[in-house]
């Protein structure tokens, strides 16, 4: 009881100390921009941790299409609808959902301008803008070219486009996947995608091949993927690393040709994953640095460039945490807890975050990479001795179990956020 009273009084004190606009309204205001895994989690948990807060979630789209498991949509194993979630659950939990775009941020006045002309005041702003593509990075590859050579790196229409192209491809065709240098959204996803496409080809177009052209020499959970590929898809997937000339330097959309420094590859279906940067709002808010990503401190995910603005998910430079849905989910909770504590006048406690990334190399062949993270010397580092990948020598029962748990994670986490 006594801690509860302290919280309540603390909140009042914080509100009194805040600018006039807030005082007039009575409750501290938090605006969250971006309704993906990071932003929607944060909005939902802000209401959970501090129900008195006025929380507004700004998101352009009525329906969110989740990326995890979208590679199964490409393989034809899953309808896109199972990736889609609305914001009614957040609204029911007390979050004000504004279905519009944020067009400008004024960090000094602490306001966000919306496309519909509204100006929202905030005590704390959370931006979770996901990724944007760097359309200038790869000659020949722009938004128009993406209609010919889909990236499918934001789930939705692009996912279905790649699916349709695979369905239309002749047996004996060549599918080329171009993978950028890090950092990019979800490090193991290009290789899961190669596996899923191989699954489809093996079952439907067995004379076809997948060629992965990579701008790096090693990748996440490489031994597990190599094992899965030799177990499941011998001779179907070829991976060309940077040191073997894998770096794609330009594409020709007219001929579906991908040029590397040393070779030229004509594809039947080309999936080009372009280089990436933080979503546009990060630049509008002034929280992205020269790398294109957003440096943050490791307790509340507050920008080191703009006080009062927090950055979550793929857009953030979150130390050792991978750019992944479960990272964004963990960060959303940690950020919500820290904001609730701070607005109540309590010092935020150092978070312990867990990320878990599942890969499905086939419907019944799963493995995982987990990490446990904590603030250490100013950034998020892994807790030594914990985390890591699934064992390389694992029996089929365990692989199948991980595949079921992957689906279980997806349902639990999307239920917690959107349900």
């Amino acid at each position: 009881m006594s801690t509860r009273r302290r919280t309540f009084l603390g909140l009042t004190a914080a509100a009194l100390a805040a600018p006039a606009l807030v005082r007039a309204q009575g409750a501290a205001k938090v605006v969250v921009v971006g309704g993906g895994f990071g932003g929607a989690t944060c909005a939902r948990f802000l209401k959970r941790f501090a129900p008195a807060l006025a929380v507004t979630l700004v998101e352009r789209q009525k329906t969110y299409t989740a990326c995890p498991f979208s590679n199964e949509v490409i393989a034809g194993l899953r309808p896109l609808e199972r990736q889609q979630f609305g914001y009614d659950g957040l609204a029911r939990s007390g979050v004000t959902v504004a279905t519009t775009a944020a067009t400008a941020v004024d960090p000094a006045a602490r306001t966000v301008m919306l496309a519909d002309g509204t100006r929202l005041a905030y005590d704390r702003l959370v931006v979770a803008p996901g990724i944007d593509f760097d359309w200038t990075a790869l000659p020949g590859y722009d938004e128009k070219a993406a209609e010919r050579l889909p990236h499918a790196w934001k789930a939705g229409a692009q996912t279905l486009l790649l699916r349709r192209q695979l369905e239309a491809m002749r047996d004996g065709g060549l599918v080329v996947i171009a993978v950028p240098a890090p950092p990019y959204r979800c490090p193991p996803a290009p290789y899961e995608r190669a596996s899923q496409i191989a699954w489809y080809l093996k079952n439907s177009k067995p004379r076809s091949k997948v060629l992965v052209l990579d701008a790096k020499d090693s990748f996440s959970q490489q031994p597990l993927f190599r094992r899965a590929w030799s177990d499941l898809y011998p001779d179907l997937i070829e991976w060309v690393p940077l040191s073997q000339g894998g770096n794609v330097t330009s594409v020709d959309p007219a001929t579906l040709t991908l040029e590397t420094d040393f070779d030229s590859h004509k594809a039947d279906v080309a999936n080009v994953i372009p280089p990436q940067k933080a979503g546009a709002l990060a630049r509008l808010a002034g929280v992205a640095d020269r790398t294109g990503w957003c440096p943050v401190e490791p307790t509340a995910f507050e920008s080191t460039l703009q006080p009062g603005i927090h950055v979550l998910g793929d857009a953030a430079l979150a130390g050792a945490m991978p750019k992944a849905a479960s990272s964004a989910n963990a960060q959303g909770k940690a950020c919500a807890a820290a904001i609730a504590d701070r607005l109540a006048g309590r010092p935020p406690q150092a978070p312990r975050l867990v990320s878990g990334c599942y890969t499905l190399a086939a419907p019944d062949y799963g493995f995982s990479l987990v990490g446990v993270y904590r603030p250490d010397k100013g950034e998020l580092r892994e807790v030594p001795g914990a985390g890591g990948a699934s064992p390389l020598d694992s029996d089929p029962v365990l692989r199948a179990q991980e595949a079921r748990y992957a689906e279980g994670w997806f349902r639990a986490t999307t239920g917690e956020i959107f349900g």
């Binding site: 020499d217 940077l242 040191s243 073997q244 000339g245 420094d261 040393f262 070779d263």
Partner: protein, 106 residues
């Protein structure tokens, strides 16, 4: 696994500026890193890369420990006459690799 990748045009017009690209697999071990047992791993780098066109040196590069593994070099040259472009890498522990390509100038 190719140890060397070279990309040079097979043909060029006289006076044309052409780009030559070469990549070699090499650990470029700096000599500053401790190994698993705590002792320093001895330096093992490529020190020199040269290119010659019909025996005339057209490009030389001195490499340092700060250059990453599998060094990739790209440079330009003016195509003056048909001939053989010879690329040579040499370094620590007697490392020496030579490759050549032919460019026909019209």
């Amino acid at each position: 696994m190719a140890n060397v990748l070279i990309n040079a045009p097979k043909t060029a017009r006289r006076g044309e500026t052409i780009e030559l690209k070469a990549l070699i697999l090499h650990p470029m071990e700096t000599g500053f890193r401790p190994g698993a047992n705590g002792t320093i791993i001895p330096r093992n780098i490529i020190q020199d890369f040269t290119a010659s066109w019909n025996g005339v040196e057209i490009f030389r590069m001195r490499m340092s420990p700060a250059i990453a593994a599998n060094p990739y070099v790209s440079f330009c040259a003016v195509a003056s006459e048909s001939g053989v472009v010879r690329l040579r890498w040499s370094g620590d522990n007697g490392f020496a690799v030579e490759e050549s390509v032919t460019v026909t100038v019209t």
